[in-house]
């Protein structure tokens, strides 16, 4: 019994040590290392409330421990009858008033922050992106710039980027913990929020509203780059010619297959407004395949042949004729060389 308990102790100690080492989670994902305006705003309130609440908890615990130490029934007390106290107006007033004061201390900055985050009066002076949530991918339409992309959202650092979000099916929720809190993406109305990133980086975004089988695989990236690089990226994306000839023969065959298999019926390459399925213009630059997998050739081939095995419940499965291994490889070759810009996730994540 003792050995077992000992092991348990060592084990839990190790566990907490590991946790301490992991610290606040993975950088550029965790909300505990804020790197954008919204995340900073939330973090300040998180710290404030944690301090106040820890104080309250300590007060409760001090009284609690004293009670348990002093007032446990002792031997020989069997017939002891404590004084039957009805109450105490003074004490009861104190522990009504103090919490009210503490809550006011929390409520005031909360209100200010909430209104600040909701203020979109200056949207027209900034970059505006239409965001569409789909089962289980994200589409980004830079309407003013006439640039369309999916899964990877590029934004300039230090600037507000307004997102106007709508869903094409069920409710999703757009969340980039390191940069800003989340906002639901509904089908019936457009919700607006803004991102403002402090520094360059590839930030993980997640869908936070339960949306079906692959809810947990609906990741996306926010790629924050310097304003200069951002300008370049926009220019590159705009000047990309979907008809340009790929360099290798295999890629060329893949390009033909893309047409032949009618992939383009759903997937746009270039600034076409088709949004049935992810836009593939910068597919070769994406940091992840389908939001979550490494973009290796094998993975891409597996996706093309059997997307269901990677993302259950996706809308691609069964919508196209069977693809042989050979064809899949050629398609992968074609897609992987779609690199319209040298501003890429790698270029910032080093």
């Amino acid at each position: 019994m003792k050995g077992w308990m000992g092991k348990l102790k060592v084990f839990s100690l190790l566990g907490f040590l590991a946790l301490a080492l992991a610290g606040c989670g993975k950088e550029n994902l965790t909300a505990l290392v804020p790197k954008g305006y919204g995340a900073h705003t939330s973090m300040k309130l998180i710290i404030l409330t944690t301090i106040i609440m820890t104080f309250v908890f300590l007060v409760v615990m001090i009284v609690y421990v004293i009670v348990l130490l002093r007032f446990r029934a002792k031997k020989g007390q069997e017939d002891y009858i404590p004084k039957q106290v009805e109450g105490h107006i003074g004490l009861e007033t104190v522990w009504t008033i103090i919490p009210i004061i503490l809550l006011i201390i929390i409520a005031v900055p909360t209100t200010i922050a909430t209104f600040k985050l909701a203020d979109d009066s200056d949207a027209k002076d900034h970059i505006n992106v239409e965001v569409t949530g789909n089962q289980f991918w994200w589409h980004f339409n830079y309407d003013d710039e006439k640039v369309q992309t999916s899964q990877d959202l590029y934004i300039p650092t230090g600037k507000k980027v307004y997102l106007h979000m709508k869903s094409s099916d069920v409710i999703h929720s757009f969340w980039v913990p390191a940069i800003a809190g989340k906002m639901d993406v509904n089908a019936e109305n457009t919700n607006t929020m803004y991102l403002k990133a402090d520094e360059e980086g590839v930030y993980w975004g997640k869908c936070a509203e339960f949306c079906g089988d692959s809810h947990s695989l609906m990741d996306f990236k926010v790629i924050a780059v310097s304003p200069d690089k951002y300008e370049k990226w926009v220019k590159d994306m705009k000047s990309f010619d979907p008809d340009q000839k790929p360099e290798t023969a295999a890629a060329q065959e893949g390009k033909d297959l893309f047409k032949e298999k009618n992939c383009m019926g759903c997937h746009a390459i270039g600034s076409s407004p088709i949004q049935t399925a992810p836009n593939l213009t910068d597919f070769g630059n994406r940091s992840k395949l389908a939001g979550v997998k490494e973009p290796t050739k094998e993975n891409i081939m597996q996706w093309i042949q059997d997307p269901e095995s990677m993302k259950p419940g996706n809308k691609m499965t069964g919508k196209y004729p069977a693809v042989s291994k050979d064809e899949a490889e050629k398609l992968a070759e074609y897609l992987m060389q779609l690199k319209p810009s040298d501003v890429t996730p790698e270029s910032v994540s080093e």
Binding site: G15, G25, T30, L68, P82, Q84, H88, T114, E188, S216
Partner: protein, 617 residues
């Protein structure tokens, strides 16, 4: 479980007795058994969730099955485990606490139970009939309206039937408490558990109809082609969220308030002191209930309601911390200066204070709108509501079961097993859920079937999963304790704890008419008053006379059974003829049973004075 009596009468007649009983004490047994069964099911589902999340990108269950498991875990635990277990405790203790011979509507009491039970069974039949509901226990449209198969239909019909039962329970308790208190039992002399039962019943009465309508709309949409939530026809899915949370937020107070009552009674009894600040405790309960109706949209901070609505709901939510804080301090003040006995019931109650305080603190944190944009729909929220629902409700149910077990069954639960179960569960609980606060902030949304490698989430999830097994071990030992106690448990007198309230003034288990003569209540903690004045027992308020009792009835079961069949009918009526037949047939059974009830006189029977005198000898 009056095992000996059961064996004498034979199993068949015992089953028939329970099928037809209208005695609140037996209905309490039924609720506890039914709720206990579903608690085990919900617990198994919880373990499956934690096994799946033990390591990154685990493939223990598929995405579809995982979604079914989380949906059923939430739905089962809230509607089919926690609520019925609480209704069981209310049925067992409340009428005794106010000195009543039964509830106001014994027939409805039975009907309420059977509706719950058959609704719960209907819901769980989905596992064997093409898959369980998979849209989350909140069933947000349009995910729920577009979910393929019949899973969500089972959710709708099962909850509709079970919910109707709960509503009846609520009305029944309200009328019981208002009309059937013993002479002298004024409102401000009622034990806190009776008070919280009363206020909980008001919450049930005004909250459940919103769910009823929500479920009807969902049902009409899925089964009859309505367009409430269909954007292409002008619908709006946010309506479902409003209706659900107008019900759903009071619902969490329905789950916690009765437990506040249990803790109040337990603290008072085992510190041998009257409850500190009784009046404040009553009014804080009322304030919590009142505010509980004003805060539903704090579940919807990220929906896009705008900063004005968000701030109002945020401040209203924070306000609830005030009466809750008053309660915590009043409990501590009750213990202060007392003579505290720590047994199992008290362990669960004492453990509640720090656990629930943490849950309350994180409650204020998630009410902080601009910070909630980070917490919302993450494991932080999972941690928060498990701290209040497990740390509050489940601890409260265990405390209540230990406390009233001897009253219900005449035998006291084993202390050694009780304490072992407690420690395992308590350690497991904090191991499972404390770490989840951090997981949420580290970027883990809720309802994630898998989390990815290399995102800093592995260790936390592993610790959480280990904790879940400790909790499971605790629950298993508790059930072993029940079996052990039924077989070999120590028999106790009517008043094993030197109790303070009326339920301890009669035998354990009580006779089916509860009080031979209604007691005269002379103040708060009436039995304690009599003890202090040297009488030792209650003074009767009436001479010995005939006692009027309600008749048993099989009709509640038949009505529920009819609706159960009709439930299947509604689900399948679009698929085949049998479905349509079941729909009409089931409704016919239910309605004809109701008609029978309506036209057949049922005046009950009398236990004569002579019989009562004979029993006394």
């Amino acid at each position: 479980m009056s095992v000996t009596a059961t064996q004498k009468r034979g199993l068949g007649s015992a089953i028939w007795d329970y099928l037809t009983t209208v005695d609140h004490k037996k209905i309490a047994h039924l609720y506890l058994a039914g709720g206990g069964l579903f608690f085990i099911l919900g617990g198994i589902e919880a373990l499956l969730i934690r096994i799946q999340l033990m390591k990154p990108e685990n493939d223990f269950v598929s995405a579809g099955l995982y979604n079914e498991i989380i949906t059923m875990h939430g739905t089962t635990m809230i509607f089919l485990a926690a609520m019925p277990l609480l209704l069981g405790l209310m049925n067992a203790a409340m009428p005794l606490q106010i000195g009543a011979r039964d509830v106001a509507f014994p027939f409805l009491n039975s009907l309420g139970f059977w509706l719950f039970m058959l609704g719960g069974i209907l819901l769980n039949c989905s596992w064997f009939m093409g898959g369980a509901p998979d849209a989350g226990w909140t069933a947000y449209a349009p995910l729920s309206t577009t979910s393929p198969g019949h899973g969500v239909d089972f959710y709708i019909l099962g909850l509709q039937i079970a919910g109707a039962g709960t509503l009846m329970g609520g009305i029944n308790f309200l009328v019981t408490i208002i009309n059937m208190r013993a002479p002298g039992m004024t409102y401000m002399r009622m034990p806190l558990f009776t008070w919280t039962t009363f206020i909980t019943s008001i919450l049930i009465l005004f909250a459940f109809p919103a769910l009823t309508i929500g479920l009807f709309l969902l049902m009409f949409e899925r089964l009859f082609g309505a367009a409430f939530f269909d954007v292409s026809l002008g619908g709006n899915a946010i309506i479902w969220q409003h209706l659900f949370w107008i019900f759903g937020h009071p619902e969490v107070y329905i789950l916690i308030l009765p437990c506040f009552g249990v803790f109040s009674d337990v603290f008072s009894t085992f510190s041998r002191k009257r409850l500190f600040g009784y009046t404040a405790m009553v009014f804080s309960t009322i304030v919590i209930a009142f505010l509980g109706f004003m805060v539903w949209a704090h579940h919807m901070f990220t929906v896009g309601l705008g900063p004005v609505a968000n701030t109002i709901f945020s401040v209203a939510t924070m306000a609830i911390a005030v009466p809750t804080g008053v309660k915590i301090f009043n409990w501590l003040a009750t213990l202060w200066g007392g003579r505290i006995t720590v047994n199992s019931a008290m362990l669960w109650s004492l453990a509640f204070i720090p656990s629930f305080t943490i849950g309350g603190m994180t409650g204020v944190m998630v009410a902080t709108v601009a910070a909630d944009y980070q917490y919302h729909d993450t494991y932080f929220v999972i941690a928060h509501f498990h701290y209040v629902i497990v740390g509050g409700t489940v601890f409260g149910i265990f405390a209540g079961l230990h406390y009233w077990w001897p009253k219900m069954f005449g035998r006291i639960l084993n202390e050694a097993l009780g304490k072992t179960a407690f420690w395992l569960f308590f350690i497991g609980f904090h191991l499972t859920f404390f770490i989840q606060h951090f997981l949420g902030l580290m970027g883990m949304p809720r309802r994630y079937w898998v989390f990815l490698e290399d995102q800093g989430l592995d260790t936390g999830n592993l610790i959480s999963s280990i904790g879940a097994f400790f909790m499971a071990a605790g629950v298993i030992i508790f059930f072993i304790n029940i079996i052990y106690t039924a077989a070999k448990g120590e028999k106790v007198s009517g008043d094993p704890y030197d109790g303070r309230t009326l339920e301890w003034s009669i035998a354990s288990p009580p006779p089916h008419y509860n009080f031979k003569q209604l007691p005269l209540v002379r103040g708060l903690d009436p039995l304690w008053i009599e003890k202090m004045e040297g009488n030792g027992k209650m003074t009767p308020a009436e001479p010995l006379g005939d006692i009027h009792m309600p008749n048993n009835s099989f009709i509640p079961f038949m009505i529920s059974f009819g609706l159960f069949i009709a439930g299947f009918g509604f689900i399948y009526h679009n698929d085949n003829m049998i479905g349509t037949i079941a729909m009409f047939g089931g409704m016919a059974i239910a309605l004809l049973s109701m008609l029978t009830r309506s036209v057949k006189d049922d005046l009950g029977y009398h236990i004569s004075k002579e019989e009562l005198e004979k029993e006394a000898e």
